[in-house]
Symmetry: D2
Subunit: 376 residues, 4 copies
């Protein structure tokens, strides 16, 4: 509790610094942090959000500030094309306007601001986001399929939004339609939200796997990120982790088309095995391992370099001296396990099912951690 | 480890509650709370703020939500009349529009939304807020004095904003001008901000005292209240405490004209003695007083029913058994002092200078607390 | 800045309260709290601890104060019979002395202080606690079996301590011996620690199940509970939950002989199914369930009346709108799930595997929660 | 709050580390930290405490662990000579025993353990501590003056304990007696507690000033430091700051005889001006000062390198842009003031009365901080 107090005093001093122009630093502790993979960067992106330019409640600069505070690498501004409840106040003749304002406001930062639009139709096809577009105005077409085609002409990456939305699917069950099959077949649709705001959909995940769609998770924020996700209490917005060759819009777009993503939602990681296993292996590593004297109980220090509070089921074949088969590995920290190896080993394998990681509905990955014991 | 999880997932549970329609409750701990006086209500008001309808960064509904979370009784929406940097996006032909949107958004709550405008001129007269106006459009006049006159015609209460603003007074020193004297003489100006945003002005306070102006403190918020005042870390926006006969716009306006206010800023109360003493006497009370056995050391339990963390200098003439002459009295809590009364008394007087209360520049009030000792 | 001060000086005010005689209240949040069962009380007990009267570092009154702060129902004082490292300073001729001091110190509270002794031998039989004894002095015998017999003569409940202790079992693997089989057969040993201090033993749990022993978890505290279990940061000592007919020593002893216990350790519950299922059903209840409009997504509010932060795997056959198959249910709070029931139901069954509850090595119970939907 | 969470997670990982033998580190945040003076070390010492060897509730090793956690430089073990309520359990024939146990337990640390005894008599002379003694047993004399003489023969530094103790002075008013005057005149008494446990005495401070006694503040702890001073909530025990030439027992003793001390008690510093001013100047420094553009409002960053949360009254002759005349400077952090210097200066002087520092009853020191403005 003393530590807590200390933190608050720090805050008190930030107060005054906050008034000094040019000082943009924000507390690192709300930053969303996952480690890079061996050969790819792990970029954090929120690809769905609104401002006053459609039905959101903030000017675009607040979206930029929220992203900077969250240390995101990229955001996409995705105003509704067809839904403009503020139009009597904000005529919004140029549908690129929100992006322009956000992009300008983001220039002092390394944040990438992606131009997008939300195609806002009844189901089917429901709502979809086209991002990496060139001109939102050209997407204002009557025929929804024509909108998708125009987006493709502009080189956009397009994904199906909240297929589980109760307003469009009373039962909350994401369900494939003929139109969606057609859009996919015609390479007009590449991704699907398995997470939107506070919702998650097993059925959307299954559709993604069945139809080879990119997994997307977004905030779809209309109000304030801090309030909606209880950021001061430790919450976080959903983001898409994009595994890209470099931090550029082109590299991100390529990664999205190649389905190199994971979703980070409410302490849960969602990804295909192809992305999940390298991500978990980057997050969880063996820092150190040793025996004490002649007791064959191995001390193994695991490091967690991610924000995930991992829920691990021990499948190693060895029991633990201080835990049952379930071990909680806190975020951004280390934990030393005592593994009863029965005899002194030079190396062995730890295996954990990661229950707060999902690779398919009700399916969880297994991470393997080779342990080499220190000599001397 | 339990608290860790507890903290993390309390959040998770808030999440879900957040989705239930009709549940508007917010953590009581950010509410700004001061007790009522004997015969007057203590209303909390933020009388200066901006939205996208002038140079702010939020839609008016966010201003309402912030005020509801802070448990304010009233806010005034005060867009700049003459400064409209968003005009190319928001033509804003009806200058009452921000108020209309806010007022509608506030209907589910007991929050009073006051119609106002910021008269935005070079110094003199600098910026001023006219609140309780009837039609902002009629204030769009070239001659600044005409604007003040129109405001008065509409029955407005008008106050001078941030007279210490460095952009208009390089040295930060609030300074009277001939024009301001004239406005006051002509009953066109009734108040002055002694606190604006994170600034406080001793010189503005002196002007208020010299010219009989109402003391006002406001946030002048353009961005987000939570960020600007570090609300999650325990900060609060500046507010004006208005001592009114009832919670109605008319009673508030009457109180403002009669200078019945105090300002609550960064753990500091600022008021005339006339308001300060009853306020302090409502905040700080003697809950209980007794002797233990035959020792003439009196136990006196003080209650603090306010958000102020009082810094008290003991002027009682008795020394304390557990404190030097400075005592800190925490907000919304109780503290038992041990007073060395030298002999057993039936009653005595505690006197404290309240260092975090200001009645004039470098002048602090003295609160007197009669203590009657319990029998038996 | 306010919260900072608030936190700092809350302390200051506690200070003064702390000096008032008769005020024994401690922060409720460190209390260890589990609900009673339908027909049995759930008593919290720490049945293994040391003071300066063997190798501990505190006078017995501190053990009582720790227990009062933790809101325990009972503690057993269990000094080593054969290990007396402080003997040159504390001759300790009457081996009941620590209990006498603790018992006297506990009289102002409702805490039960049980008389015990730790029989401290090489393996086998290793260490064992005899509790509910009448006279510790009579246990001072050379032959260990004679000690167990004397304990039985006194009506004691006796359990095997830390069978996984590395100092006596290098590999940390609790292992049955001939002597233990004999003690059990002769009704001289009734229980076994599956949890001791920060350790847990799957092998001890299996022995308990195989040999019909009472499950025990204890702190075996020698230093300070607050430090060893990081209580200020939210940690807790291990305790045995004893399901007794009333809060009396006799009822507790009866419950222990009848194996009516669970162990609460580091956010994990360990018990036989016979005790685990009623305990989980007392902890987790359905508070409320309803549909919103004509959407067949049921809102189900679960209440958790325990300190456990439950890790639940949804086995209900319905997917959830806001969670994957893993749901975390925070301690002492509520959580509303949205269950996709596909059609409007009058009732249905929620089923969860409880991963942080253990009924056998790598075996976790399933809790069933019948849900009846509200009408209107 | 996220920061808070992070801190708690860290804790969770400490848990496991805590089990690794040899790892003695404790959270720095509870350390009591004041900066060294220009030419003297600032050593933190608690010179009055009890264990089971008189009427305390812990073995001496706990006193060492508490001191290590508080990062103290020195403690004195001061059992009552004449009050031995545990004697039937702990015969205590060698009155140096508690010190011997503590000293041995402190060997892995840099903590100095001073040998002392509390001379425990009715008033006068009341209780006194003789520290830096050679053999406590020789202090067991009937005539109290003979005890003081023996202490002096051993080279002890001796101070009057809690002269304000209500059990010996019903009115709590420390009062000089003929016997004390004689002890001082005979160089048998050199110091006086102005702070003991949770009490402070203006009258004792006046006696110290009148009779040229060393100022001492101690915990006189009998139970647990963490509980008595709410350490987890941010509280701290009282300590004497000893300004010594080096960290050795001899240098400390010399400093005590030369009255080079301050007392740190409940956010208050108590010292003579001779020690107070260098201490405050070491605590509070000007880190940086600059003007922004052509505004003569100077930004001045103050650093506070101490644990004191300073309550400063601005006596500089300049008003502040963000504060009234009272400024709170949080512990171990920085704060930037905006000083209205009226014209651009090359340098100026900040002056603050430090209200939470006491140099005589109701007397507070003034700290002067020369400010040199940055060029460019």
């Amino acid at each position: 509790m003393r530590l807590v107090l200390f933190a608050l005093f720090l805050t008190a001093s930030f107060f005054s610094f906050g008034q000094i122009p040019g000082l943009h630093q924000h507390p690192a502790e709300r930053a969303i942090r996952f480690p890079d993979l061996d050969s790819l960067l792990t970029l954090t992106a929120d690809l769905h959000m609104h401002t006053v330019f459609s039905d959101g409640s903030v000017w675009p600069d607040i979206r930029v500030q929220e992203a900077v505070r969250d240390s995101l690498d990229a955001i996409a501004i995705t105003e509704h094309l067809e839904y403009q409840p503020h139009q009597s106040d904000i005529p919004h003749p140029d549908r690129n306007r929100a992006w322009q304002v956000a992009e300008k406001s983001a220039r002092p930062y390394s944040l990438i601001v992606i131009r997008g639009s939300e195609i806002t139709r009844d189901m089917p096809p429901g709502h979809s986001n086209a991002i990496f577009i060139e001109d939102a105005n050209k997407l204002l077409r009557d025929d929804p399929v024509e909108v998708f085609k125009e987006a493709r002409r502009q080189g956009a990456f397009t994904f199906w939004n909240h297929p589980n939305w109760i307003a469009q699917r009373k039962d909350g069950v994401a369900t494939m339609t003929g139109l969606h099959r057609q859009l996919i077949a015609d390479t007009l649709l590449q991704g699907i939200e398995v997470v939107n705001d506070v919702t998650y959909s097993d059925e959307a995940l299954q559709i993604a796997l069945d139809y080879n769609l990119t997994l997307i998770g977004t905030s779809d924020i209309h109000g304030l990120v801090d309030w909606q996700y209880k950021v001061p209490e430790g919450g976080h917005r959903p983001v898409t982790l994009v595994f890209a060759e470099e931090k550029t819009p082109d590299a991100m777009k390529k990664a999205l088309f190649e389905r190199r993503t994971a979703v980070w939602f409410d302490n849960t990681l969602i990804a295909r095995e192809r992305e999940m296993l390298p991500l978990l292996n980057a997050c969880i590593t063996v820092e150190k391992a040793w025996y004490n004297g002649d007791s064959p109980v191995a001390y193994v220090t695991l490091a967690n370099r991610s924000d995930a509070h991992f829920v691990l089921e021990n499948l190693s074949g060895y029991t633990l001296h201080e835990h049952p088969d379930i071990v909680l590995l806190p975020p951004q920290s280390s934990l030393t396990l005592q593994v009863k190896t029965l005899e002194m080993k030079e190396d062995f394998l730890l295996k954990f099912k990661v229950w707060n990681a999902v690779t398919a509905p009700a399916t969880h990955p297994v991470v393997e951690l080779p342990v080499a014991l220190d000599r001397g």
